[in-house]
Symmetry: C2
Subunit: 382 residues, 2 copies
């Protein structure tokens, strides 16, 4: 553990001369991660359709889990008995868990918030549960998570100013309690990030961020964006918020996003991303290429014997045609879910390699614009 005490959690390797984009390195007990990084989502302990070996072979450096889901099933006892989440799912690279705030608040009538936490009813079996900031930190500690997130209230879009103001106060209060609980048993092998809320109100975003800075976290996340607001408003709040985020700490945009949004967020200095889109799209037949998205269900692929992307080096593109994937999809053959997911995750990781190289070569804006031009060319949507 002494090793981690003397090791910085985050280090900036290079900054773009053109914008706020930066190349960095996050260090954890389970390995180092170069940033900007995409984290595939494994909510319940698996990245849907993939195994750990798939993730290793794709070179995914970190994945996401969800405290709320893993707490309900398999439950803390099973994960503790297994020796932690890494051992339970047999993934020996870094894992970040979201606190479950987003999931709890998505329960609607099934949850009731008070000053100290949230009472909620399990969506699985109707059992009653109570999440407090302390509880959520203690769960993530016992999971053996590398990067924990504070318990926060994620408000929907739109929400009125007064509610968001009160909500930011509660999120701040909970962040203090999370940090306190975290410090109780801090052996420097785990890290805790704060989550900036404040809805679409700049003054509340700033207030939320400043309060978190006073508490002092290992990293800072933007929560409550990309929740259904217009895209220009999202960019506005992102640009506004990111300029006040500390330079020397990782910056995480929760739940982003589309390839184009990712370039824009990296330009604002964001380092970490997660999104279910590549995996969910894969299961819906939507596949990413550097020339845009394609929908493999379309009849045009029935006799198309090219790979999804001729320049792609993923297992699927090296071995199978669009015609075969089209056939499997139309025939409800479940092998296609994994083949599609392997491709889409590989695309995201290659996209981030492109992003990182462009910062390294200091041609971020040119590379970004070039990517967007080609990606938009044939896409049926953003």
């Amino acid at each position: 553990m002494g090793y981690f005490k003397i090791m910085e959690h985050f280090k900036i390797l290079k900054k773009s001369s053109e914008c706020s984009a930066r190349l960095g390195q996050i260090n954890t007990k389970h390995g180092s991660i170069s940033t900007p990084v995409f984290m595939p989502v494994g909510t319940k302990g698996s990245v849907k359709s993939l195994t750990s070996q798939d993730l290793y072979e794709l070179n995914a450096k970190i994945i996401l889990g969800n405290t709320y889901h893993l707490y309900l099933r398999p439950g803390i006892e099973t994960i503790k008995n297994a020796g932690g989440l890494h051992k339970f799912i047999n993934f020996e690279r870094p894992i970040l868990t979201d606190s479950g705030g987003f999931q709890v608040f998505s329960l609607g009538d099934l949850r009731k918030i008070d000053e100290n936490g949230v009472h909620f009813t399990s969506h699985i079996d109707g059992a009653k549960h109570y999440f407090t900031p302390e509880k959520v930190i203690s769960l993530q500690r016992d999971f053996g998570i590398d990067i924990m997130m504070c318990f926060d209230e994620c408000v929907a879009y739109p929400t009125d100013y007064d509610y968001v103001k009160k909500s930011v106060d509660i999120t701040t209060k909970w962040a203090i309690l999370c940090k306190k609980e975290f410090e109780k048993n801090n052996d420097n092998s785990q890290f805790l990030y704060g989550i900036i809320q404040g809805g679409m109100y700049k003054d509340l975003r700033l207030k939320s961020l400043k309060s978190l800075l006073d508490i002092d976290f290992d990293g800072y996340a933007i929560g409550g964006l990309s929740v259904g607001e217009p895209i220009d408003l999202m960019y506005e709040i992102l640009e506004f918020t990111s300029q006040y985020m500390p330079q020397d700490k990782p910056r995480y945009f929760m739940g982003l996003g589309s390839p184009i949004d990712i370039w824009k967020a990296v330009e604002c200095g964001i380092d970490m991303f997660d999104c279910v889109m590549p995996t969910r799209n894969a299961r819906n037949g939507t596949l990413f290429t550097f020339n845009g998205k394609i929908n493999i269900k379309n009849a045009q692929y029935k006799n198309d014997f090219l790979p999804i992307d001729s320049e792609c080096d993923c297992y699927t593109c090296k071995n199978h045609s669009r015609a075969y994937l089209h056939h499997l999809f139309k025939s409800d053959e479940i092998t296609v879910f994994r083949l599609n997911t392997l491709h889409n995750i590989n695309f995201m990781l290659k996209l981030f390699n492109m992003v990182k190289n462009s910062i390294l070569d200091d041609n971020f804006l040119y590379t970004k614009n070039n990517f967007i031009k080609h990606f938009k060319k044939n896409s049926f949507c953003n």
Copy 2:
């Protein structure tokens, strides 16, 4: 092609001194197969949840496809354009296709049989189709199939004597037409097997077999068994029929079966097997071990951190616990289908290695009885 002309399709390497079990080798354009062999089922062009690489790594030597399904979707044009079924699905080992007789006759009211073939309505889009023996052979030829099956009528259990008698006559007539069509363009790179029918009537089984022997096929299959009849009746018809099947040709029991049934059929001299059970069971959470079957859904596995089978060398057992598989299954995480399937197919292939070694070492009966004793010990069913 000359290579295949001088190469025997089937060769017996060793016979058991205790029973009719034999060790053999089937040679095809896409490679050799040692027998007895289990053929994983890839009805529509994929073994459900697996990729070709999975099948190579499992060391599956031959897989099954289905003419009826592949004809309807993706259709013969797509498969021809791809350069044949092997190229379409990217599996460069032998493929056997069932003719689709079983599937067509399972359509019930959607099909109408006449002397020359069967009119049927697609279960996919309601389109009308007509299968003749000639058509079914020509499809399998164009698929580039290594081992083709004759078009037969597979009768249900029970069916009265008169119907089965007439049905055997039609199956025989069609077998003649299949052979004739096959010989038209026979370049010795493909092989054609006849299918013995006759329901549960020994004289009709014998009549069917003798007619097929007169036509002369590359191999002989027992069809229309394991279709719901009592197990003892199945064994009785199997034992009766197999004793008249030629020694020097491959013998294939279509659609079998459970591990115990397989031992009994090998004892009768059967060389080839296919069954959806290991893959279907995998997707239902039923996993095979040499100490019996387990149902991974059961609560007892929630905190069981052992692998499915501690002695198993499959990817799943080397990397994951029963508790993790139980969790994935309960959480509807689709990764579990592949993990379970990898294990069950590996089990079947290991079972056949055990079968082959016992013939090689001439201790088939001891090995069989020992297997059954252990397998039945903890199984919740046969």
